[in-house]
Symmetry: C2
């Protein structure tokens, strides 16, 4: 089981394909995410990952990897601090901040780029899976 | 432009296809979302929409519909209160709660089922698009 201070880290690259699938799933086809030429003309200069796709990747870790199957999602917050670019390597760092009860964890959820700049931060609350 | 008290409502059905695209985009292939037989054996009885797909649909509205293009996402919180089922009609209700500055809005984001039960609630903060 997990305890306060435990952490989980995963390097990810959000690919063009992931962004296009997310755009189809949600209908969010803003060209800033999908069109290189449009993105190049903005202050960002390059295509951005949908912020909520980062949240979806955090959610995937909770449900499938850490704590893993049986985890129930209670809540999530996310602040978008800096742009996350399509194709750039990023690090998701999750760490257990509090356990209000033995079955419930509040997990700090951070996304960094390779320069160790914090791109997004927030907290997830989960109900932990039953021990096997 | 939008003002405190303004609201936006949209009926949505999260389809099987949307859930499968979201699962591919994020890697979250929990059978509770994808496999009828597995879901039938759980306390939910039916397949659940990924919670973060609901957040993605809210994000889509902000970026494309209301306030629309040029909106910059600052943050979002979401609490998952009751299960959202694949294929069921739902209502997304967004309403402007505060405007800390004329360019920034805090928007209450709620998702209801057809029985008017609140399935998910939270708040999004956005920077508003420049007036045309």
């Amino acid at each position: 089981m997990i305890a306060v201070g435990d952490s989980y880290e995963k390097e990810i690259v959000v690919t063009d394909q992931m962004v296009r699938l997310f755009a189809e799933a949600t209908g969010d086809k803003n060209p800033l995410h999908l069109d290189d030429a449009v993105a190049a003309k903005t202050k960002f200069g390059r295509r951005l990952v949908h912020g909520m796709l980062l949240a979806g990747l955090i959610s995937k870790i909770f449900g499938m990897d850490w704590p893993g199957p049986g985890t129930i999602y209670i809540s999530q917050s996310i602040q978008f601090l800096k742009p996350a670019f399509v194709g750039d390597p990023m690090i998701l760092r999750l760490s257990v901040k509090e356990m209000p009860t033995p079955k419930r964890a509040v997990i700090l959820t951070e996304c960094y780029n390779k320069d160790n700049e914090l791109l997004a931060t927030g907290e997830g609350a989960v109900s932990l899976p039953r021990e096997l």
